[in-house]
Every structure is written in structure tokens, then in C-alpha cells.
């Protein structure tokens, strides 16, 4: 591991960074278009089941995207456009549940799942490892032990 030349790793890192930086585009031309695109990705299509307005290929969806772009060009804010759409199509047009009321649990449960899962796993691992801990020698191997270990590992790999 540590013998990988630093220059090689840095070169790889910089090459990756340059490639990505080249690929990332400059900022888009018109804010109204970007706002309209963003909003169409934040609402569900009234015309394609289970799909955002942005992803819906129907002609009616194209027309609604055009209306949103028109509002964006007229200087409407994101909230005003979303409110207008909600008034017209109902609350279920928003693609994210609200972080309150009926929508709250949608957000809470995934966090609970991750937190509880990791806590439980940590508790189990800690409990099991504590039982075994006194039997173990925690000293790190000496350089000679490390060298012998490398050599034996190499032999073991060769035999696999």
C-alpha cells in the first residue's frame, strides 16, 4: 500500500479531477429555463402515472411544461408557481411529501431505519467483541513479524 508512489496517486487524482471538471458544463444560459426544468422535476405529472412532469412524454405534459416556462419567464418565483400548480391539481402534484402532518413519517422512518440498524449492529458487535477482548493481544506486529506475515500471505495466495 504505502509503496505506491505518491506522484502516481496524485497524478491519477488530478487526472480524474480534470476529466470531471472538463465534463461539468458552465452555468446554463437562462435562469427561467433552469427554474422551469427544476420545477417540472419537482412535481408529478397529472398525465403519466408515477412519473414527474419532467419525465412525462405526453403532449399534455409538454403543454404544461410550456406554461411553467411561461410563468418563469414572467418572473414568477418557484413558490408561486408550485402554489399555482397545487391549487390547480391538488397537493399530490408535489413529488415530495411535506415534512409535517401526513408527510412527516415519510421522512422520519428512513432515518429511523438507518439509525436503529447501525445502533443495533454496533451494540451487538460491541457486546460480542467485549466478551472476547480479554483473550486477545492488541499489540501491533513488529517489522520482522510484518515481514514474515507478508511472506506467508504470499505463499498462501500462491497456493489458492
Amino acid at each position: 500500500m504505502k509503496r505506491i508512489p505518491a506522484a502516481v496517486t496524485l497524478t491519477i487524482a488530478i487526472a480524474i479531477a480534470i476529466a470531471i471538471a472538463v465534463a461539468a458544463p458552465a452555468a446554463g444560459a437562462g435562469p427561467p429555463e433552469d427554474l422551469a426544468n427544476r420545477i417540472s422535476g419537482e412535481i408529478m405529472s397529472p398525465y403519466c402515472p408515477g412519473v414527474t412532469l419532467h419525465d412525462c412524454p405526453s403532449d399534455a405534459a409538454v403543454e404544461l411544461r410550456g406554461r411553467i416556462l411561461g410563468w418563469a419567464r414572467d418572473g414568477w418565483s418557484r413558490e408561486r408557481i408550485l402554489d399555482r400548480l397545487e391549487a390547480e391539481y391538488g397537493a399530490s402534484i408535489r413529488s415530495t411529501p411535506p415534512a409535517s402532518g401526513a408527510g412527516l413519517w415519510a421522512w422520519v422512518m428512513p432515518a429511523v431505519a438507518v439509525g436503529a440498524g447501525l445502533l443495533a449492529a454496533t451494540a451487538v458487535a460491541r457486546r460480542w467483541s467485549r466478551r472476547r477482548a480479554p483473550e486477545q493481544n492488541l499489540d501491533e506486529p513488529t517489522p520482522s513479524q510484518r515481514s514474515r506475515l507478508d511472506s506467508e500471505l504470499a505463499q498462501a495466495r500462491e497456493q489458492l
Binding site: 496524485l10 403532449d59 399530490s92 415519510a106 458487535a125
Partner: protein, 664 residues
């Protein structure tokens, strides 16, 4: 035109009879330890498979013979449909896809039982009974509520044809692969349950089904990627994943199966997590069947579910029996499922695997929760809510990034224990590379925090995996004085499972790079008259011509677009907006100019009568890497599979259990 379609339904009834007979024979054979009955059960299951194949062949024959007296043929094919898509019509509708699923199930079951019957007769007998039981369920569906051979009167002159969206080369492969994945998991599921029933809870059940598990996971993985490729090239919205309920249905079992492939290594290496492993494979199969239920019940709206059918209500009791029965047997056998070893340290590869498992399971739960939440919220509160891609991206991506970090970290940590000092040494270089990438990108003007973290973790993981290859190659070079290429090849071939797993991880890294590129998408649309142009990032898109033509299936309207950068013509793109005559349905065909840096993607959403075209165009940076990563993953899968012994007997003969698939 007459066809062999008349053979279809009698064959299904015969298959059902033989499956029922097989189930009875297997159960009695297992209870009385009678090998002759197990053999007879195997033959009955093989006969059920044979009759299901005859039935599916009869439907294929009816499709090719244009026998529109069969309702399914009339609904999903037409005389003008090409031969390839006529074959694809077998899985293009609900009844045909169920028949295809059942054919795979009975055939896989018969092959798996035949292969392991001699080595593990009692285990196999119970597994055979479970597989025959699952087969009975699907055959009953086909005989009763989802008969693919229902007759139609009066007989129409031509069929309605296959949905134009399904007329794509990807659709020739994507559904069969997904079904192979879903159905393939029935084999390890059945053997796990059989192990629980017999009380033989050593590693026998998963060594017997190792290749099936790998095959199912691989099929599902490739199927999911091909589904993304189909969405990208056919649906015309510039993306590849929409968190649609049907996509989620295939993704959930993939997540739990991936967790299983990792955690089973701990059972093989350390004889730990036995309950966890049987629970994971149970969950995987239940989620696979649940996905089938979601797709066919009509309870969720999706752009590519089958129409609401009568079979949804049949699935719920079946799912209940599987879940409650499986968890019940696990509870009964809990004593025998206790780990034989303990964690030596929190800082060990076992702990990394465990954390990885928790995250995969949490990810699967998150997807399930988001998919079902609209139904739950409406049932509990009466409020109609939507849960779309922004929600899934917000909750899933952080979990996925944590999994990616563990993908890099895992191989660096040693089994049993590792001191903090040693840990610091091994992660130093990957950590430096990851940090350098983040800093360099931030300095280069990349402002998306999520993308920066993703790229940094990709660099971290790629360096960690690369260093494992470097270390393996160094050992081989030292011992054999070979060149770098042959040392790398020897590293790969000497431990295919381990290094094949690392290749799969590298594929995942490339896919994540491609996905992170989505943060920089540019999109523009405009209504252009011929000769007019629009700006798209650094490009100018000019609509130069409209070309019209006709085929027997469709009216073709092609927009010719010149793509220029800095005044220089870089490509001519030809998106189409076609009208499919049989379905009376318009359909867009996208045009994509792709390279490793970015895709330029153009689609025509409509044409005005005067020839003006509504053009929607995207720049999708780094998308190419998603498909490249999938190919690398596939290469890794091939390497891992090549390292597997053929057949269960060879697996059983081994005295030392070996890990299943993932990089150890």
C-alpha cells in the same frame, strides 16, 4: 390462421397436475427418507417443466402464426410486427409474462433439484417440495385468472400490436433477465427453507445453490442496467432512472440480495450471522414476488405496470404464507442458528460487512417505504400524497454514498481485528487521493456538494481497490519475475472470487461517476422552424430539415439537427417523432451523440403541421461511464462465475467452504 395455441391450456393443466404430484412425492420422500420417492418427485417436476415449456412454445407459435382467435395474440402482436418483437410479445403482456416466469421457475427448479439430489437427498426433497409449491401457485394463476389462451370472438383481422415503447432491442433482453433474476432467487430461498426444516443449518444450503445465487444476482443486475438503458434511449426524457414503482420493485430484491452475497462470506469464513443470512434470502425472494404483485395488482400507478388485472388479490395470501411461514421456521430454529464465533473487534472486516449489510437493508427499506407511502398515508390519514424522485434522491443517496465508502474501506481492513494504527496506514493513500479529488474539483468550480462527495468517494474506493491489485501483482512479480500484465492476470485468475469481486466494485465506482455527472445536466427546449437554432450549453443546435417516410408499421417524421460547437459542425442528429398505425400512438425516437465526457441528447416532442419542431435537448455529462461501469461489472461477474465449481456436488466435496461472490 390456425396455430398450436390449442395445446397451451391442456399443457398448463398437465404441468399443474405434475407439479402437485411432485410436491406430494417430495414431502413424503422427505418425511420417510425415501430416495425413490424423491427421484419420482424430481421426474414429476421435470415433467411439469416440460409441459410448461410446451405451453410457452404454443403461445410463441400462436404469436408467429398470427392466431388472433387467442385474445393475448390479438392484444400484443400484429401482422406487421417484426419477428424479434413478435417473440418479445411473449413477455409484453401480463398473462404471457406470467407464463414465461412459470416456465423459468419450473425449469430452474427441475435443474436445481436434479443437480443436488444425490449430494443432499433430504435437503433437496424439502427444497423440491417448496419449489413445486411455488410452481403450483403460478400454474393456478395461469389456469384460472390469467389464462394466456383465452379465445376471442369474433376474431379480429389484425392484432393491436406491441406497445411501441416496448419495441426496443433492450426489451428483447431486459425482461427475460429480470425474470431470470427474480425466479433464480427461488432456488436459494427454497434450499434455505429446506435447511431450516431439516435442521441442517451448516453452509450446505448455500454452497449447493451458490451458482444459482450468483446467476440470479447477475441477471438482476444486468437486467436493471438494461432497463435504465431502455428508459434512456426510448422514453425521451433524458434520464435513465425515475424511481418508478416498477423500477423500485426490481431494485429492492437486488439490494437485499447484494447484502446477502456479502454477509454469507462471514458465515463461510467465521460461521456467524446464520439467522441474518436465511432472513436475507427469505426477504429477497419475498421482495421479488412482491415486485411481481406490485407490477400486476394495479395498486400503484406506473408508466410500465401491466393493466390492472384480477390476479393482485391472489398474491397477498401467497406472500403472507411465504413471509409468515419463513419467519416462523426461523423462529423455531433460532437455537440452531446461533453464531459459532463472536466478533473479535469492532475494527474488523466482519464489522465492515455488518455495517454494509445494515446499510443495504436500510436502503431497501427506504425504497419500499417510499414506494408504499402514498398508499399508507391515504389509508391512515385520508390524504393523497405523492412520493417521487426528489424524495428518493434525498433519502437514498446518503445511504448509497456510505455504502460506497465501505466498498473502499472493506478490502483494506483485516479479518478479526485491526489496530487503529494499522488502519491509519492502510487508508492513508486512498484518503489522500479522495481528498485531493474533492479539493481539485472544488477549486475547478464544481459547486455541488453531493457530487463532490461522490467523486471523492469514487477516487477513495478506486484507489483502495487498485492498491489491492497492486499488492497482489507485486507478490506475483516477486515470485515469478513476470511482467506487470501477466502478474495482474495471475492475480485475477488465482483467486477469481476475490479479485472478480474487486472488478465488480470498480464497475460500481464507474457507475457512480456517471450518476454523479447527472448533477451537471443542461436542458433546453424550443419550438424551431426549419433553419432556426437554439443554444445548448457550448453547442448550437440548428433544425435544418424535416424528412417524412412510411413503413408498414409507422409514419416516420425525422428532424435533421446540425450540432455545432464554436461554429464547427460536430454531429448531425436525427431524432424522430413517429406515428404507429396499429396502436394509433405517437412515439419519439431519440438521437444521442455520446462520448466519455458527455452525451448530447435530442428528442422531438411534436411537429406542427407547418413543419416546426418542438425540440428538447440535453447535455448529460459522464453518462457514458454508467454503461462502461456496467460492462466492467459484467466482466467481474464473469470472472467470479468462472471461479465457481460447476454443480453442487463439487461444492459439497470441498472440505473448506469458500465465499460466494464478493471481494472478501
Amino acid at each position: 390462421m390456425r396455430s398450436l395455441g390449442g395445446l397451451g391450456r391442456p399443457s398448463l393443466i398437465a404441468a399443474l397436475v405434475f407439479a402437485a404430484l411432485a410436491c406430494v412425492l417430495f414431502v413424503i420422500g422427505a418425511l420417510r427418507s425415501r430416495r425413490d420417492l424423491t427421484r419420482a418427485g424430481t421426474r414429476s417436476l421435470t415433467a411439469a417443466s416440460g409441459f410448461t415449456i410446451v405451453s410457452a412454445s404454443a403461445l410463441v407459435n400462436a404469436l408467429f402464426a398470427h392466431d388472433f382467435s387467442i385474445e393475448y395474440v390479438a392484444n400484443y402482436s400484429s401482422e406487421s410486427l417484426s419477428r424479434g418483437y413478435t417473440l418479445a410479445a411473449l413477455w409484453g403482456g401480463m398473462e404471457g409474462s406470467l407464463l414465461f416466469w412459470t416456465m423459468l421457475l419450473t425449469t430452474f427448479s427441475a435443474v436445481a433439484v436434479r443437480r443436488s439430489r444425490r449430494a443432499n437427498p433430504r435437503l433437496t426433497a424439502w427444497a423440491g417440495a417448496i419449489l413445486a409449491g411455488v410452481g403450483i401457485f403460478f400454474l393456478v394463476l395461469l389456469v384460472a385468472p390469467a389464462d394466456p389462451f383465452t379465445r376471442l370472438a369474433p376474431v379480429p383481422g389484425d392484432g393491436r400490436g406491441l406497445n411501441p415503447l416496448l419495441q426496443s432491442p433492450g426489451m428483447m433482453i431486459h425482461p427475460p433477465l429480470l425474470y431470470s433474476g427474480f425466479v433464480g432467487f427461488s432456488i436459494p430461498f427454497a434450499f434455505a427453507l429446506a435447511a431450516l426444516i431439516t435442521g441442517r443449518l451448516d453452509e450446505g444450503w448455500f454452497t449447493s445453490t451458490r451458482r444459482w445465487t450468483l446467476f440470479a444476482w447477475s441477471s438482476l443486475s444486468v437486467g436493471i442496467v438494461l432497463g435504465g438503458a431502455w428508459a434512456y434511449t426510448e422514453l425521451g426524457w433524458g434520464g435513465y432512472w425515475a424511481w418508478d414503482p416498477v423500477e423500485n420493485a426490481s431494485f429492492m430484491p437486488w439490494l437485499t440480495a447484494t447484502a446477502f452475497l456479502h454477509s454469507v462470506v462471514i458465515q463461510e469464513k467465521r460461521r456467524m450471522l446464520k439467522i441474518w443470512n436465511v432472513t436475507l434470502i427469505l426477504l429477497t425472494y419475498v421482495l421479488a414476488v412482491f415486485g411481481t404483485f406490485l407490477t400486476r395488482s394495479g395498486i400503484l400507478s406506473s408508466i410500465h405496470t401491466f393493466t390492472e388485472g384480477p390476479i393482485g388479490k391472489w398474491f397477498l395470501p401467497f406472500l403472507g404464507v411465504m413471509l409468515i411461514g419463513g419467519l416462523g421456521v426461523i423462529a423455531v430454529r433460532a437455537d440452531k442458528l446461533k453464531s459459532e464465533n463472536r466478533f473479535d473487534s469492532l475494527m474488523s472486516r466482519e464489522s465492515a460487512f455488518l455495517a454494509n449489510n445494515v446499510l443495504f437493508l436500510a436502503a431497501a427499506f427506504t425504497v419500499l417505504w417510499g414506494t408504499l407511502y402514498p398508499i399508507i398515508a391515504e389509508a391512515v390519514t385520508g390524504t393523497r400524497l405523492s412520493v417521487g424522485p426528489p424524495f428518493f434522491n434525498a433519502v437514498f443517496i446518503p445511504i448509497a454514498l456510505a455504502i460506497l465508502a465501505l466498498t473502499g474501506l472493506g478490502p483494506l481492513i483485516s479479518w478479526r481485528r485491526m489496530s487503529p494504527g494499522a488502519m491509519g496506514r492502510v487508508i492513508r493513500v486512498p484518503l489522500i487521493v479522495g481528498t485531493v479529488v474533492i479539493v481539485a474539483l472544488a477549486l475547478a468550480g464544481i459547486g455541488s456538494a453531493g457530487a463532490l462527495i461522490a467523486f471523492g468517494l469514487c477516487a477513495f474506493t478506486a484507489t483502495a481497490v487498485g492498491s489491492e491489485f497492486a499488492r497482489g501483482s507485486k507478490i506475483h512479480r516477486r515470485r515469478g519475475a513476470t511482467g506487470l500484465a501477466s502478474a495482474l492476470a495471475r492475480t485475477l485468475t488465482r483467486n477469481r472470487r476475490r479479485y472478480g469481486g474487486y472488478v465488480i466494485h470498480l464497475g460500481v465506482v464507474l457507475i457512480v461517476i456517471g450518476l454523479a455527472g447527472g448533477a451537471f445536466r443542461t436542458e433546453r427546449h424550443a419550438l424551431l422552424e426549419p433553419g432556426e437554432s437554439m443554444r445548448l450549453g457550448a453547442y448550437t443546435v440548428t433544425y435544418t430539415d424535416l424528412r417524412r417516410s412510411e413503413t408498414p408499421e409507422k409514419e416516420v417524421n425525422e428532424a435533421v439537427l446540425d450540432l455545432r460547437r464554436g461554429g464547427e459542425l460536430v454531429a448531425v442528429m436525427r431524432p424522430q417523432r413517429n406515428f404507429h398505425v396499429a396502436q394509433q400512438q405517437p412515439q419519439s425516437e431519440v438521437s444521442i451523440r455520446t462520448n466519455p465526457v458527455e452525451d448530447v441528447y435530442a428528442v422531438v416532442t411534436s411537429f406542427d403541421p407547418d413543419g416546426a419542431a418542438a425540440i428538447r435537448a440535453f447535455i448529460n455529462p459522464l453518462t457514458w461511464w454508467i454503461w462502461a461501469g456496467a460492462i466492467v461489472m459484467l466482466g467481474g461477474i464473469v470472472i467470479v462465475m468462472a471461479g465457481e465449481p460447476v454443480g453442487a456436488r463439487s461444492a459439497v466435496r470441498r472440505t473448506v467452504p469458500r465465499p460466494v461472490a464478493v471481494a472478501e
